[in-house]
């Protein structure tokens, strides 16, 4: 896979717990353009984390990402906060997107909480450039309103909230009163996104108008152990509780492509020949999950005590 070798040009710790990195090629050359809403996957020591790009998306010479420190995460954000300094090199995969603006939309309603504002920033830049109609509702903690100044320069239609109750009240009115043709974009913590989607669905929003950018799954339980048989080799082994199927396959020498390891990116999909699957990812569609012949090995497990994989 193509990777980008980038240099840290600037570090901004202006907001508590949030570090903003400016990255560029060592020679300052042009970087790949990207679709608004894209993220950059940065290799952070042992893990690879996805961060939304907040900089200009057209023929950029810099990539900017803002990273919230997650003390209980896999370590990637801690590494960025505590190890990385100006002048250091990082390796990143080119921007990828599953959260692009729907260009036919009559209006774009952006709803963000906390660091979930980051993918909205490139949406707003693009909307500003092309004159698309946007509305933004932004819930953040007091003193943590990252990007507010930049956003004010791009739109007059931002509402910010530091109180959840007021926010929910305004969100309900906004969802109830959008002209037909509006599309909704949501990013924030999992619970916030679920609540927003439930509210929207209750007000008649169909799935095709709702677009989500997920950070990943909140901590999953370690799961029950189960036995795995590989169809091709007949190899049989047990995946212990607390160990992912992906890790178990790697330990036995199977090279399964993977990236986010949290059920979002879709890289580690493997074919299943038998057994019931406990799907825990956010990538497969409901139809994929119902078909039962494929699974995301990083987070999903067996429903019963065994699985047969077509590997």
């Amino acid at each position: 896979m193509t990777t980008l070798e980038l240099t840290v040009r600037a570090v901004d710790d202006g907001f508590p717990g949030i570090r903003t990195l400016t990255l560029a090629r060592p020679d300052g050359g042009m970087l790949p353009s990207f679709t608004p809403g894209s993220h950059l996957v940065i290799e952070c020591g042992s893990s690879a984390n996805a961060y939304s790009l907040t900089s200009d998306s057209v023929a950029p010479r810099e990539y900017v990402v803002s990273v919230l420190e997650c003390p209980d995460g896999s370590g990637g954000s801690r590494w960025i906060h505590h190890e990385l300094a100006v002048g250091d090199s990082v390796v990143a995969r080119p921007p990828r997107s599953a959260f692009s603006p729907i260009l036919r939309a009559r209006r774009h309603l952006l709803v963000a909480a906390g660091i979930g504002i980051t993918p909205m920033v490139s949406h707003l830049r693009s909307a500003h450039r092309w004159g698309r109609e946007v509305r933004l509702l932004y819930l953040h903690r007091e003193g943590r309103g990252v990007y507010i100044d930049e956003i004010k320069a791009m739109t007059d239609y931002m509402q910010t909230f530091t109180e959840r109750r007021t926010f929910l009240h305004e969100l309900s009115s906004a969802l109830a009163d959008q002209p037909f043709g509006t599309h909704l974009y949501v990013c924030g913590p999992a619970g916030f996104m679920d609540d927003t989607v439930a509210l929207a669905a209750g007000l008649g929003w169909p799935p095709s108008r709702i677009h989500l950018e997920r950070f990943g799954i909140d901590a999953l339980d370690p799961g029950e152990p189960f036995e795995v048989t590989l169809t091709d080799s007949g190899d049989t082994f047990v995946v212990d509780s607390g160990v992912s199927l992906l890790e178990a396959l790697h330990a036995r020498g199977h090279d399964i492509p993977n990236l986010c390891r949290q059920g979002v990116c879709g890289e580690c999909r493997i074919p299943v020949a038998g057994g019931e699957i406990l799907h825990r990812d956010l990538f497969l569609t409901d139809a994929d999950k119902a078909a039962g012949d494929t699974m995301m090995s990083c987070v999903s497990r067996a429903c019963g005590d065994r699985l047969e994989l077509a590997l």
Binding site: F180, G181, A201, L203, W205, P206
Partner: protein, 178 residues
């Protein structure tokens, strides 16, 4: 050999008549019925929606042609909010044409429900002269194009935005054909 129509662009309701339930996930509904035969479906939907919410905003239009149907949809949509649903009942060919109109102005597939009262009539678009021929014809049958006279095979493909089947010259490679 006909493929499983589920894997094609031909909607199930255009292959066999259907009376689906009303879509109760919306907040406002426009119901369009083509002709008297659509009446049972229209009234069943109305009952379902009002049974779900007695104060629901349901507007019913009983129409006889494409133009009236499109005008009704346009008028309702002008002031509509997200949450609006379009429910169409009538012969499949008219439903396909009104669905095409709705899709062209930005209505989503998951905002449209169709109940069909008849499926025998089909619009066939000639791949060669673009003329539209309407006739009682089955998929894989052959009919003469009303525009250029070519013998068109009615293919199992529906243009979503034109609301018609694809027809192409069935004997184009026949040596000695006129």
């Amino acid at each position: 050999m006909k493929p499983d129509l589920e894997t094609t662009s031909v909607p199930a309701w255009a292959a066999a008549t259907s009376q689906p339930d009303a879509d109760l996930s919306g907040r406002a509904w426009t119901v369009v019925g083509f002709g008297d035969d659509a009446e049972p479906i229209v009234s069943a939907w109305r009952t379902q929606i009002l049974g779900h919410n007695a104060h629901a905003a349901v507007v019913v239009h009983r129409v006889d042609d494409d133009e009236a149907a499109a005008q009704a949809v346009d008028a309702d949509l002008a002031g509509a909010l997200v949450g609006w649903r379009l429910m169409i009942a009538g012969p499949a060919d008219a439903c396909l044409r009104l669905r095409a109109h709705a899709l062209r102005i930005g209505v989503g597939d998951d905002e449209i429900v169709v109940g069909s009262t008849a499926v025998g009539t089909r619009d066939v678009l000639c791949a060669h002269c673009q003329a539209r021929t309407r006739a009682e014809v089955g998929i894989e049958d052959v009919l003469p194009c009303a525009g250029c006279g070519r013998n068109l095979l009615v293919y199992y493909h529906v243009s979503r935005l034109k609301g018609a089947y694809l027809g192409f010259m069935v004997d184009a490679e026949l040596v000695g054909a006129p």
